[in-house]
């Protein structure tokens, strides 16, 4: 799996790390049972604080996308398949919103508000 961050971006680093994982889950590259590298390894590799990576993993856990097990580290849950199957629909909805001049934020707010 690939985790990319851009320290120059306005998006917080933990959010960028979580986004990398979400993106690969949506595309099917990360399926149920896939093991995420240890937070320590990721932190060392990216030159970021360990807590930043743990924060990202925590966010993913709250979304139900990964689970943490002692000794096994963070693994992708069965939720991955559901997210992958929604990805195509989400793309379509987003394209429709863009065509209608509705921003991503407005679309997300619409979904959240229902």
């Amino acid at each position: 799996m690939l985790i990319r961050i851009d320290p120059g971006s306005a998006t917080p680093i933990f959010e960028q790390i979580a986004d990398s994982v979400r993106k690969q889950v949506a595309s099917g590259e990360l399926a149920e049972g896939a093991r995420l590298p240890s937070a320590r390894d990721v932190a060392e590799s990216l030159g970021v604080n360990l807590h930043t990576v743990l924060h990202a993993y925590q966010v993913l856990r709250e979304e139900g996308l990964v689970e943490m097990r002692r000794g096994k580290g963070a693994t992708v849950t069965g939720q991955a398949a559901a997210m992958a199957s929604l990805a195509a629909d989400a793309d379509q909805l987003r394209r429709k919103a863009q065509a209608l001049g509705v921003s991503d934020e407005a679309l997300a707010a619409l979904i959240r508000g229902r």
Binding site: M1, L2, I3, D6, S45
Partner: protein, 343 residues
């Protein structure tokens, strides 16, 4: 009027096919045809002595004394498996590597080993019957020493001849240069993947472990320390190798390529500043590295836990580091991007 250029693209393809054929043919003759011939002759000889042989026959010697007996029916079967099936497995792996475009002394050597192995096994098994012709009780069989000597000499001679009957092979690694991952200058990335032996491979090695463990326990009980100690050590070493090194983590980051087995040590690292070239390629562990696991061969080191996709890195000293891993293209792409970023 010459041949139009576009027509001659077929010349290159013909050359390539000729080259494959030039290497395939001796590999087939020496690695499959020769073991078949050796096996047929060996089994033929064994069967021609059948009526003169005691049953059970002697199958194991310690020093000059027989200390193990077995059914004589096992011998032709063992000959077929050891002198024919084993060489065939090696040869098939080499042919697959040749077809993929790989060349190298290691492939040539594997074929020599296949030919040599066939002679060693056929001579050993057939010779063990030869010295038991006309015996009523196999316990009276003489020393196996001369047979062992003959099989080793025969094997070396066959291996050397097979080596020189094959054409020279300059090392060619049929790889594809990695396309660097697109990254903005401020971007940072890490790629991580887990590698592991397939369950089938683990079962094979695991059964081997179990058998040597059982053998070790039985011999401890029966009290032959001299045999029990090495067997126990072997069982423990295999267990550690199987369960500690059957899985590893491969990581690519700013610092380079790192491979770390689950038990944490030893850690293999290629620093990004030592990277000359990054390629992706298909690897057959058996043909190119002589097996699976951590493999040293001339010019390369490989962490080869399964067959298939691999990242191959050429270091500035010319040596290659190869690791089999899924989605090798992404890992190689990131490594290439970092290597290029450094200049």
């Amino acid at each position: 009027m010459g041949i139009p250029r576009d027509k001659c693209s077929s010349c290159a393809i013909t050359d390539l096919m000729n080259d494959v054929q030039r290497h395939r043919r001796p590999a087939i003759w020496l690695g499959a045809g020769f073991p078949l011939l050796v096996t047929v002759v060996a089994v033929g000889l064994q069967l021609s002595w059948w009526g003169d042989l005691p049953d059970p026959i002697a199958v194991h010697w310690t020093g000059n004394t027989v200390d193990g007996f077995g059914s004589k029916v096992m011998v032709p079967w063992a000959t077929a498996i050891l002198a024919l099936v084993f060489p065939l497995i090696m040869t098939v792996a080499v042919l697959a590597a040749l077809d993929r475009g790989s060349r190298g002394p290691n492939l040539r050597f594997m074929i020599s080993v296949a030919a040599s192995f066939a002679v060693i096994m056929a001579t050993l098994l057939t010779g063990s019957l030869y010295i038991q012709r006309g015996l009523v009780d196999a316990a009276d069989a003489g020393s196996i020493g001369p047979v062992v000597l003959a099989s080793v000499v025969g094997g070396v001679v066959a291996g050397v001849i097979a080596w020189f009957l094959q054409p020279r092979q300059e090392t060619v690694v049929g790889g594809e240069q990695a396309t660097p991952l697109e990254m903005s200058p401020s971007e940072r990335a890490v790629w991580a993947s887990e590698i592991g032996m397939t369950p089938a491979l683990i079962i094979v090695v695991g059964l081997g472990t179990l058998m040597s463990a059982v053998a070790a326990v039985m011999i401890w009980i029966n009290g032959d320390r001299v045999v029990a100690i090495p067997l126990t050590v072997t069982a423990v070493v295999i267990a550690v190798l199987v369960f500690g090194y059957s899985r590893a983590r491969v990581m690519v980051d700013e610092r380079g390529l790192t491979v770390k087995p689950v038990i944490g040590w030893p850690r293999f690292h290629v620093p990004v500043e030592e990277i000359e070239a990054v390629e992706t390629r298909d690897v057959s562990g058996l043909a190119e590295f002589g097996g699976y696991g951590f493999r040293w061969i001339p010019g390369a080191f490989g962490v080869i836990l399964n067959r298939g996709e691999a990242i191959s890195v050429t270091r500035s000293n010319g040596r290659r580091f190869v690791v089999t891993v899924d989605d090798a293209a992404t890992g190689a792409g990131l490594l290439q991007a970092y290597a290029q970023r450094r200049g």
